[in-house]
């Protein structure tokens, strides 16, 4: 069986205003000494969970990717990251070409630390860039200096990282078209091979949601956000980054193998508090709080909060929902007559590509990508 590992690191030195991820700051955890001491203890727990995973699903497993996400995994000590990689290598069959990604906060690393991550086996870095415009970063409540991106990606390149990605956010209130173009231009000038660009989502309960509700920050403008997507796709393509998933663009073969395993409905195990797993149609997810997570593992129990066994129709719905977002789209011969009929109206309106449709595939055009949810709702089971 093929498996991807996701390792969640639920710690940040500060929570950003738009973020609703399962992550905790020292003050939320009532740690006065900061996060420096937390790496070793947390990684020990993660390793325990990997051990339990092995007991559950066996060792005859090929691991093609590991992804350290967060939170801020770059807060961890490189040696601790290395321990996780080694544990997976010793318990399972980790392929030679395995993609091992680390999400990096540009503020939290120097060149030396990056070199150590490379040494322990990390071979892909994903930097949280978000924007190159100071006032936009301020609205997002991000602390980093946009100049840092040039510096950190430069170091990474010099050190020999071949796969470098940046994350961008567009549609932030107050971000003009010029602002966004500046962020795009700034990203494509970096020595990188991959870009993820997400439209900002205002999640309920976040500081940003409260600020918008109070009127301190203006509402999102969906029409402007749509324009920004179109502009981004154009600039990225011109610079050689081609879309392969709705919010992801890559040069040549630099697609994220790990993320593709999500979108292709493959198996993955999520390690860490709140992490989700999917093994052959079973979904389960871990308890959310690091303390509960710790208690469970100290008792040598899988820290699972709840699970869901997908029915065939749900598996099919997920397949449609995920594959429509990929360049390959959906093979029309896998659809029933009603679904084909429902989709054909979107071919007429130019939201699905006509020549692909005639060749048996439902693939999104640029305008189609912007209303992908609307289209997939039509054919959901």
């Amino acid at each position: 069986m093929k498996l991807a590992f996701y390792i969640h690191v639920p710690y940040c030195s500060k929570r950003c205003g738009y973020c609703d991820f399962n992550t905790y700051t020292p003050s939320e955890l009532k740690i006065t000494s900061g996060l420096d001491g937390i790496s070793g203890a947390y990684i020990d727990l993660a390793i325990r969970e990997i051990n339990l995973a092995k007991n559950k699903i066996g060792q005859d497993i090929t691991v093609g990717s590991i992804f350290f996400g967060g939170g801020t995994p770059s807060l961890m000590q490189p040696l601790d990251i290395g321990k996780v990689i080694n544990k997976i290598k010793s318990d399972f069959h980790l392929t030679d070409s395995a993609e091992i990604t680390l999400e990096v906060n540009p503020d939290s690393v120097d060149k030396y630390k990056l070199s150590k991550f490379l040494e322990v086996g990390v071979n892909r870095l994903s930097f949280g860039m978000q924007s190159a415009v100071p006032h936009v970063l301020k609205t997002l409540d991000r602390t980093h200096n946009p100049e840092n991106l040039i510096k950190v990606t430069g170091w990474a390149k010099e050190l020999g990282f071949n796969e470098i990605s940046v994350d961008l956010i567009y549609g932030t209130p107050g971000e003009s078209m010029q602002d966004w173009q500046q962020s795009i231009d700034s990203a494509i000038s970096l020595p990188i091979s991959h870009i993820s660009a997400y439209a900002l989502i205002v999640e309920p309960g976040t500081k940003l949601a409260a600020q918008i509700k109070r009127g301190d920050i203006e509402q999102l403008d969906d029409d402007l956000t749509a324009e920004k997507y179109i502009v981004a796709d154009k600039s990225f393509s011109t610079a050689g980054f081609h879309w392969y998933e709705l919010s992801n663009w890559a040069k040549n073969d630099s697609k994220s193998q790990h993320n593709l395993s999500y979108w292709n409905g493959e198996n993955w195990w999520g390690i860490g508090p709140g992490a989700h797993s999917h093994i052959n149609g079973d979904r389960f997810w871990n308890v959310k709080h690091p303390n509960t997570y710790k208690e469970k593992l100290q008792k040598n129990e899988l820290p699972i909060q709840d699970f869901e066994i997908l029915q065939a129709s749900q598996i099919e719905s997920e397949r449609l929902m995920l594959s429509i977002r990929l360049t390959g789209g959906i093979e029309t011969k896998s659809l029933n007559n009603q679904q084909i009929q429902d989709l054909s109206t979107y071919v007429k309106t130019g939201h699905l590509n006509l020549s692909d449709w005639q060749n048996g595939r439902a693939t999104l055009t640029l305008n189609g990508r912007l209303i992908a949810d609307r289209i997939v709702r039509e054919i959901l089971l």
Partner: protein, 621 residues
Amino acid sequence: MPAIPITKSPQPAATKPDQIRNFCIIAHIDHGKSTLADRMLGITGVVEDRNMRAQYLDRMDIERERGITIKSQAVRLPWRSGLDNQDYILNMIDTPGHVDFTYEVSRSLAACEGAILLVDCAQGIEAQTLANLYLAMENNLTIIPVLNKIDLPAAQPEKFAEELANLIGCKPEDCLRVSGKTGEGVEVLLDQIVKQIPPPVGDLSAATRALIFDSVYDSYRGVVTYVRVVDGHLSPRDQIQMYSTGVRHEMLEVGVISPEPMASNGLGVGEVGYLITGVKDVRQSRVGDTVTTYNNPAKIALAGYKDPKPMVFSGLFPLDGAEYPMLREALDKLQLNDAALVFEPESSAALGFGFRCGFLGLLHMEIVRERLEREAGLTLISTAPSVVYKVTLDDGKKIVVTNPSEYPDGKIAEVMEPIVKATILAPSEFIGTIMELCQQRRGAQKGMDYLSEDRIEIRYTLPLAEIVFDFFDQLKSRTRGYASLDYEPIAEEAGDLVKVDILLQGEKVDAFSQIVHRDKAYAYGVSMTGKLRDLIPRQQFEVPIQAAIGAKIIARENIRAIRKDVLAKCYGGDITRKRKLLEKQKEGKKRMKMVGRVEVPQEAFIAALTTDSDKASEKKK
């Protein structure tokens, strides 16, 4: 203590007419009729304190919640008069207070010799009460003026006693003063009922004649018929006969309500009670008909009532088309109790299959709708109310139109619309605003009188269609709630009317068509297209909304195509969440109606068809 135990009181079928007093209470909504009735039940001892609940007689949830009475009720109250120390039976016939239910009021009046005119002495008499008062006076009923709520700090009993005295021609000091809430003055009132209201007069030995004043379907017992015996008597062994149809029925039970049904040995002259015959359809036990006995049928019927005629029509459609058979069943059932409700199947391109229903007025319409939703668990869309138009075509052909979508296109020689006589009572400071509103609604002033120094009665004739279109809400809001309205149809007049159609993407939406006066067509078109622009979500294509008279476009709005409908992120933990969100959204889509290619949410229909967005909440206050 003048309450007497029920068992020791004069018994049904053994009560002499001169021991009986039959009365009803005429009052406006909120003037405290149900509270007073509750108090009477308590003081006469028919309901023990521990069984008392507020508004005991209002049977339906809707009645209790809205504080209004929809169906009449008759309760037998034993009472020992404090004036002569004799035992009496008081039959209280509860009547609805709203203008829509005038026909129910007139039934109740025919069963009584007297009426209590109950007026809130913080508010004064209201237009609808006035109308019912005139009705009672026409029926030669003895009127006892009563000022209620004297316990309120804002009570002005002197002022309103003056007003009542002017209206009914008595002295201000003849107005009794009570508080249904505290019970003050209620015993005096009961004594005055005995003293002032004449006992019923009838021939004990003549052939039995009893007037049906209400007929209610009960799912356990079949039809329960409420009667007032005029001559002769009814006994449990009788075979009865309906005068109008000549049909014979077995009597299964006869009894009185006190306040729960109680079988009795029969009913004598002047008594009020119920009978059950096993009939399953109220139409076989028609209100206004005369009950007589099979063995000795009466030769002459009692004067009945005119059948109420529906004045306002609206389409009712189930939100979920599959609920159509349930809607039919629920309407059938409601009609068992509500002879004024008429309906026939209707199909709408936009709303599917439903029923065109006729109502007595707006409140009647609202109550029927609410009962259908509540009692049958249906979710309904009702189209904008319409009145009855009589259209004459150029070729002399005549058509009756109760549904705007049936309005003929072109070649119309004349359209007649119903005209009502409206009476508005309000503080005199609002004369200007009220006249302005009536002028805007094509009204013609017919007169104005001062009821007291600062209260006026204004009379207008107005097209009913104008009243149906949010007139009452406007009147209330422009007079800060002080004005009250009553109206009755008086004539039909020719009007310069046109039909305005609403088109979505060039396609006519029949549910939104409306017949309006030519001068108001433009305003209607602009307001409707504007409302729909705000209510219909953006689609993946542009949707023009137009208002048109025939082929002429009079207003236009545009819904721009949606640009973005996608969530950017979709990683591990997002997948379940996203699938569930999409499934939920898809479920929501099923509640959309397709108009051509345009998805219109049910809420848009409901909101667009509601003349005033805060109307529903306003009414419930």
